[in-house]
């Protein structure tokens, strides 16, 4: 595995954290009640911290003189490698919960593996993130159960969100050349293992919450090549506006 491969790997993971952090930040001041508003924003803050650490390391490994800020503010849409699931909008509270719940399951497994690698920077980032993500799992899992077993309307809304977002789950266990190189050195588990882990957990959580796992088999793909849904462009427009209008602006 070459440094550039590891850089790209960190960039993919960092991008997913960054874009989710942005989505979570959009919920600030719009939570259903004050305590949950703060909780949702806190999830975003944790993810932003993980994104920053990963993108700083990605930039360093790349060795082209770019900084984490350059990566965030100066790449075009096709240069982002976050999962499409991460960029899906906060259509309603259920959509936000389902998006974060599935991504959190994925992240927990990713960080668990990374926490044990011989690269000290990466294992350090992962060891810290494991604890944060364990809380995310707990909080989001609570909402899956609560909304699933709540009222008829909450049940219907969370099931709708699961059905609508299901087509984006396939990307989480898809593999390309880079993934194989990363797996070879033990920095990631195989796609099959990830799929088995996700499906077993999702299925048991959803069943417990009286919800059902969608049966549709179509899964979309493309984010590992920089292909995205219509939503990423809008996120970047907002996130990158200042740097685009006033390049290298400083406080």
């Amino acid at each position: 595995m070459e440094l550039l491969d590891l850089s790209r790997f960190c960039m993919r993971l960092g991008d997913s954290c960054l874009i989710m952090a942005h989505r979570q930040s959009e919920m600030c001041s719009k939570g259903p009640f004050l305590e949950e508003d703060i909780a949702q924003t806190n999830l975003g803050l944790d993810l932003l911290g993980q994104a920053e650490a990963l993108l700083i390391y990605a930039a360093e490994l790349e060795g082209k003189g770019r900084t984490a800020d350059d990566l965030v503010y100066k790449r075009p849409e096709r240069g982002f490698y976050n999962f499409m699931l991460a960029e899906q909008p906060n259509t309603d509270f259920a959509f936000a919960v389902v998006r974060q719940y599935i991504m959190t399951l994925y992240l927990s497994r990713v960080y668990e593996t990374l926490a044990k690698v011989d690269d000290e920077t990466l294992s350090g980032i992962a060891a810290k993130a494991v604890k944060e993500i364990a809380y995310h799992q707990r909080h989001l899992g609570m909402w899956i159960k609560r909304l699933g077993e709540g009222t008829e309307e909450s049940h219907e809304r969370i099931q709708t969100a699961i059905n609508e977002l299901w087509m984006f789950v396939g990307e989480l266990y898809e593999e390309d050349e880079l993934d194989f190189k990363i797996q070879e050195v033990g920095y990631a588990i195989s796609g099959d293992e990830m799929k088995a882990y996700l499906m077993a957990n999702i299925s048991s959580h959803l069943t417990e919450a009286t919800l059902s796992v969608p049966k549709s088999v179509y899964m979309t793909t493309g984010s590992k090549k920089g292909i995205h849904t219509e939503y990423l462009g809008y996120i970047l427009a907002e996130m990158q506006y200042l740097q685009r209008a006033y390049p290298d602006a400083k406080w």
């Binding site: 009640f33 004050l34 305590e35 909780a39 809380y135 609570m142």
Partner: protein, 108 residues
């Protein structure tokens, strides 16, 4: 003379949809007493402890936490203040302040 904290009773009668009020107590270090930190809204125990964590422990404030339903706390009615507390005013000898504490005693 004794009554449950008024605020919670008012909360549950109103059309508030934020859930019941819970009081949060934090312990800064193992072995130290728990101190009142503030309150949160939540619908049940699980949500109460999570909301309290998000509001009160993200800056390293504690290593232990209790969350208690506000209506389970029995408080002294402010109008009974004098009969409860005033008789102790002139009895300073009830405090062990006339002893010298050995050096090295912490948290007294």
């Amino acid at each position: 003379m004794l009554k449950n904290i008024q605020i919670n009773n008012e909360m549950s009668e109103s059309k508030d949809t934020q859930g019941e009020l819970w009081e949060v107590f934090l312990q800064t270090k193992k072995g130290l007493p728990f101190k009142h930190a503030g309150s949160v809204h939540a619908y049940d125990k699980e949500m109460a402890i999570q909301n309290a964590r998000d509001l009160y422990t993200r800056r390293g404030e504690g290593r232990g936490m209790w969350v208690v339903p506000a209506n389970a706390i029995v408080a002294v009615d402010p109008s009974d203040d004098s009969s409860f507390f005033d008789p102790a005013d002139d009895k300073v000898y009830r405090h062990p302040t006339f002893y010298e504490l050995p050096e090295g005693i912490k948290n007294m």
